[in-house]
Subunit: 347 residues, 2 copies
């Protein structure tokens, strides 16, 4: 299937126009014309091969929303014209215990990413900085027309990445929850934790984010460089969602957990995290990680957002500003997610 | 109360005879004449001030068993002549939420150690390398006469330290469990995990421990230097109990956990552990820690051991061999716990 988008040719090249072929849609596939695609920090990591193993040319993008333009004969969930979303995953084995449990993101055969991957048949996958995408309906989500479609796009990665651990660790009323970092992930974590009824403390390095954090739902905001302010929260949190991928002192946050408290990483620091055994042993604390979410839970999250009127705070840009957006994401200079407007994609 | 034991005078001195005063027993206290005391690696760490903050002169020892020689007027659980045990803790606040939950080891006011600590009244505590100990009955455990008393002593620390996390993480039939390190802690972890009905894989660096591990209950033994043998277990464990305090690659073990698997540290490496965020995020794994156990659970563990005929494998020694024992513990040259024979303590 003839497609067009923006790609990088190597880890040092800029994003530029790219004509390519996608696999032909089969009986279980949905073809989605892309209206909007979010820019995730992991797009930049992979475009620049910072995690290793990148496949070029690469069309990044896994926060995709649009409308259905074709469906295979076995598709039951979608018809032409429906709104639809595609996230981080486009294929899993559906036979392993994790897939069967609805946790396809942990597929033991290996989940196939929406871009920068090869599917089980050997086709390279290309992402959402493009005019369309093809995926089996199992990996395509229904989207409510009630929400601003552009602002829904980041829910497909930043949304589910924060929603899933907050649900898994049963965040809700009566719980004290910390969110570390107020960026693309953090601002969604804050919105969800607040919506679930928890007492939420936002940690940030930036004084100028205090007011924003409060508007987004924080009950308290702590400047993480303020040692006295940090010390006041020692041993008091049930759960902390750590959304920071830059190097930072994890033990300062572990020390804030009460008995059986858990700190979950969703940001992905490239270097190993220096973890104090004494901090873990005290209060039987846990340091965990979580990766996006399963298909069932992703749909649950999208439905929850429609019900509660939750979307991402975004800056909508044209494809001509892609390079500028990458530079600003690296500097954390965005409130809080860039989204590419498909109407600006010109051949 | 006049007492006599073995103490270190400074972090570089050898253990030697030491006359000292304990606090006078009060109405809620039990006085225990010490028959046996285990030698825990943490005795050595603290005697040598390797964790900082040591108080000298120090009488180490917190794996204490003996018989009751006096009880205060409010004591209900013991009478003179009863067997009794004292572990790591002799005072907690009993008012905080952790104490109230029966998890006194995580007392938010701070638990008072059996030695190398000051109690809430300001008295320095002295441990079990001595002729007697005084403790409130809440911190004194009943001991069954069915078991070899000397071999019960290590249950008060090594026993509860491994029993508690195995119970907390619900190790039992149908679970695949790893035990890392076959020393004082590891051999108890192995015995308990096997007794609870789990499929137990013992990890060790020593080929010459394979037969021992099998005798102690291991279903499989893996030499941790054998990369192929390690790779076979990738993503397969529900729980791993890490009993090693020497530096080691934690990520090699994290990679062996299946979905929602947990690795719990009970050994205490002095340096921070380099933890891979990617290893945690894959399979939503947890790295945790656990510290001894509460008073109720310690008694439960002792009762369980009496019922199942579980004790520590020990090498019983006299006080004249204390220095030799310390040197051998540091070299991991003991199967699997040294226990001091109180009959050899001569003024």
């Amino acid at each position: 299937m003839k497609s067009f988008g923006y790609a990088v040719e190597s880890k040092t090249s800029a994003l530029g126009p790219f004509h390519f072929d996608r696999r032909e849609p089969g009986p279980k596939d949905v073809v989605v014309a892309i209206d909007y695609c979010g820019i995730c920090h992991s797009d930049i990591h992979q475009a620049r091969d910072e995690w290793g193993g990148s496949i070029y040319p690469m069309v990044p993008g896994h926060e995709i929303v649009g409308h259905v333009t074709a469906v295979g004969k076995d598709v039951t969930k979608f018809k032409v014209g429906d709104l639809a979303g595609v996230g981080v995953t486009v294929e899993t084995c559906m036979a392993c215990e994790n897939c069967k449990a609805g946790e396809e993101q942990y597929c033991t055969k290996g989940m196939v990413g929406t871009y920068n991957a090869k599917d089980y048949a050997g086709n390279v996958t290309y992402g959402g900085y493009s005019d369309n995408v093809v995926a089996p309906e199992h990996y395509v989500h229904t989207i409510s027309p009630k929400l601003d479609l552009a602002a829904v796009a980041p829910l497909l990665c930043a949304g589910i990445t924060t929603y899933s651990p907050l649900r898994h660790w049963k965040v809700g009323a009566g719980k004290k929850v910390g969110v570390v970092g107020l960026g693309g992930l953090g601002h969604m974590g804050l919105k969800f934790a607040h919506s679930f009824g928890a007492h939420v403390v936002q940690f940030t390095t930036s004084e100028n984010k205090i007011e924003d954090a409060k508007k987004l739902g924080a009950d308290e905001v702590v400047i993480s460089k303020d040692a006295d302010a940090m010390a006041k929260h020692a041993g008091s949190f049930d759960f902390i969602l750590d959304c920071v991928s830059a190097p930072h002192d994890i033990n300062a946050y572990l020390g804030m957990l009460r008995l059986d408290g858990a700190l979950c990483l969703v940001g992905l620091p490239e270097q190993p995290v220096a973890t104090s055994p004494f901090a873990l042993v005290t209060n039987r604390r846990s340091l965990s990680g979580s990766m996006i979410g399963g298909m069932r839970e992703t749909q649950e999250m999208l439905d929850y957002c429609a019900e509660k009127n939750i979307v991402s705070d975004i800056e909508l840009i044209g494809y001509d500003r892609l390079e500028e957006a990458y530079a600003r994401v690296v500097k954390s200079d965005v409130k809080y997610r860039f989204v590419l407007d498909g109407k600006t994609l010109k051949k």
